[in-house]
Symmetry: C2
Subunit: 181 residues, 2 copies
């Protein structure tokens, strides 16, 4: 059961260095360029979770997120192993090394307008091995948050003007507090 | 603490009818066009959740998702109320009407490459008022799933070749089963 547009030709409308804008029939969407893939990490440290906050140019503000990284985005690294990339990113961004890694599957961020997916990895048995903060011009703030206080932590971040990544829903859960409308 | 590129001029690289590809310094990203916004719905029916499955042209396959809709995407509907749009979409897509609605906040789907956000609404006290399935050429399959069986339901969907939307993480939770790597 596919809409008519499924068989329309795919046209590249703009090809950048990192993303490609495409059109197929009436559908418009974006994909990553050059086979770049993404890994997202859920770092659990007992009752705590390790989160990162960084300025996001597309949003024009800071955003609260799970640590994540692109795989194969640097020249010569096209065949980088996803787990090796995730180990490197977790240490670079948060300063934590994990002894246990689990694959939680592949997810699509915005199926109506983005063709790309990411692999979610759960990292546990953490050891602090550095300060984190990212590389070069990245200025990543690391938060170690008690999961029992996560809703309040996120509310406080929103009050500071910080955006919240959809992947925080993994930690908030379907029973989170809401405002009746 | 903002990277240098935050103050670079924003250039429109391609403007489609639904999305706009932009560049600011070395950052490339996409936004929705014409002020279009999105509402995503978490419909809870006691121990069950109502999910939708539909063919997604950007993915080239079916995707398992929460019901969702665009607000203000039709000519003359630019000022549509988000709650009214969500009520309409829930009935159109799933056939359920909800007596209770709660706002669970605004989330960003992919802060590194998409500038847009969505509002998450929890819908409960459901009544079946129609068959759902969507409008016009939409062919949406409705699934009413016991939340206790959700991990297995998603594994079975993956085995059928169905993609999984990131927003399913809200229901799966940080303790979901994983494969050691």
């Amino acid at each position: 059961m596919t809409p008519d547009d499924a068989d329309a030709p795919e046209e590249v409308m703009w090809a950048g260095r990192f993303i490609t804008a495409k059109r197929r029939g009436k559908w418009e969407y974006v994909g990553r360029a050059r086979g770049i893939r993404a890994a997202v990490i859920l770092p659990l440290d007992g009752d705590h979770v390790i989160l990162v906050e960084q300025y996001r140019v597309p949003l024009g503000c800071n955003c609260l997120e799970l640590p994540a990284g692109l795989i194969g985005d640097e020249d010569g690294a096209e065949n980088e192993d996803p787990l090796e990339a995730a180990r490197r990113e977790l240490i670079e961004e948060t300063g934590y090394s994990a002894a246990r890694w689990e694959n939680l599957g592949v997810y699509f961020s915005s199926p109506g307008m983005v063709s790309e997916s990411f692999t979610l990895l759960r990292a546990s048995e953490l050891t602090k091995v550095g300060e984190g903060g990212g590389v070069e011009d990245e200025e990543i703030v690391v938060h170690r948050v008690n999961r029992a206080n996560l809703e309040q932590f996120i509310a406080d971040a929103r009050a500071r003007g910080v955006a919240v990544d959809v992947k925080m829903l993994l930690l908030l859960g379907a029973g989170m507090g809401g405002i009746k409308v």
